[in-house]
């Protein structure tokens, strides 16, 4: 049986995918913007950092301090990168969904 820690929560899943999609440009503001523009989901800054903190503790992402810009009031960015464990976890979650979805029809 898989450990509870190895499961991806819904928010963890979409944040991880957003970081993966943004590649080298993944930091708080861009992750939030991508989620709003692509799936119309607005998550708060607090919820985002709580999620990335959890993902980092699970070893699914790493983070590093970035540059500060005038647009940000001189405050630094924190860039996120998906680790190989994170990639593995995403693939596994995708496969799980595909297995469950195959042959299932949604009517209504």
């Amino acid at each position: 049986m898989a450990n509870k820690e190895s499961y991806l929560g819904e928010l963890e899943h979409i944040v991880l995918l957003a970081i993966l999609k943004l590649k080298d440009g993944a930091y708080g503001a861009t992750v939030r913007e991508l989620l709003i523009s692509s799936i119309n989901r607005e998550i708060s800054i607090g919820a985002l950092y709580a999620t990335t903190d959890r993902l980092e503790r699970k070893g699914l992402i790493t983070s590093r301090k970035g540059e500060a810009t005038a647009e940000r009031g001189g405050k630094a960015k924190r860039y996120f990168t998906v680790t190989s464990l994170g990639l593995e976890n995403l693939t596994q979650t995708r496969q799980t969904f595909e297995v469950l979805w195959s042959g299932t029809e949604v009517t209504g």
Partner: protein, 236 residues
């Protein structure tokens, strides 16, 4: 930056944990500037304020969960709390053992304590003034020693150990031990209330001292024993 946005930044600064503070404020500033360029300054500030409020709630929950994860933090908080109680108790016992029956405040305060109005005494400035004087003139830590209280505590602890040995339900055991630890205090309070009219202020101290100290001794001993037991279970 207008007032509403400034409040939003301050709110986020207070709520965000130190390791994410700069990044969170930076993200908020970036979102605010982007909204400002595409719309009005007012709508940008309103958006920024809304984001700060929701984020503050999330950050607070996040911080609470983090604290809950750190067992050591809880132990440190409890130790700090216990030290404050211990310091207060020592000062109170010092004041009690240096009572001056010719002093109007001391007599009135003792009467109030016997009448169960302990809270009214400790909120008075005169009480703390007397406590301050006693720090330099009192008996020091020796005021926390009493032979009668030690005997009562030993009996209480013996009772607690027997209860824990023969009780199956954790809730029943916990309730019984709590009552047992407080028993000398409860018994003393009942006794003082029943005999308030017959007692002189001189002999109230002989009831108050063991009643307070035995509960104090038993609690410390019980906490100590529990910690030792937990440590043994942990390392077994």
């Amino acid at each position: 930056m207008n007032m509403l946005n400034l409040i939003a930044v301050v709110l986020l600064k207070l709520a965000a944990p130190s390791d994410y503070r700069d990044e969170a404020i930076g993200d908020l500033n970036q979102a605010y500037n982007k909204k400002r360029l595409s719309g009005s300054e007012f709508s940008a500030s309103l958006y920024s304020f809304k984001v700060a409020i929701v984020s503050s709630i999330h950050f607070s929950l996040f911080r609470f969960k983090r604290v809950k994860l750190k067992e050591q933090t809880i132990v440190n908080l409890l130790t700090g709390f216990w030290l404050i109680i211990f310091a207060f108790f020592t000062l109170f016992m010092q004041w009690l053992s240096n009572l001056n029956f010719t002093n109007k405040f001391d007599v009135a305060a003792l009467n109030r304590i016997v009448a169960g109005q302990f809270n009214l005494v400790v909120t008075e400035g005169e009480f703390w003034q007397a406590v301050g004087n006693n720090i330099t003139q009192g008996k020091g830590i020796l005021c926390l020693t009493d032979a009668n209280a030690a005997i009562i505590s030993l009996l209480t602890l013996l009772g607690a150990v027997l209860v824990l040995k023969f009780t199956q339900s954790k809730l029943t055991a916990l309730t019984s031990v709590s009552i047992l630890l407080l028993l000398p205090f409860i018994a003393g309070t009942v006794f003082l209330n029943l005999n308030a009219n017959d007692m002189t202020l001189d002999n109230v101290g002989s009831i108050l001292t063991p009643m307070l100290l035995s509960t104090f001794y038993s609690s410390i001993a019980f906490i100590g024993l529990s910690l030792i037991k937990n440590k043994r279970t942990h390392y077994a």
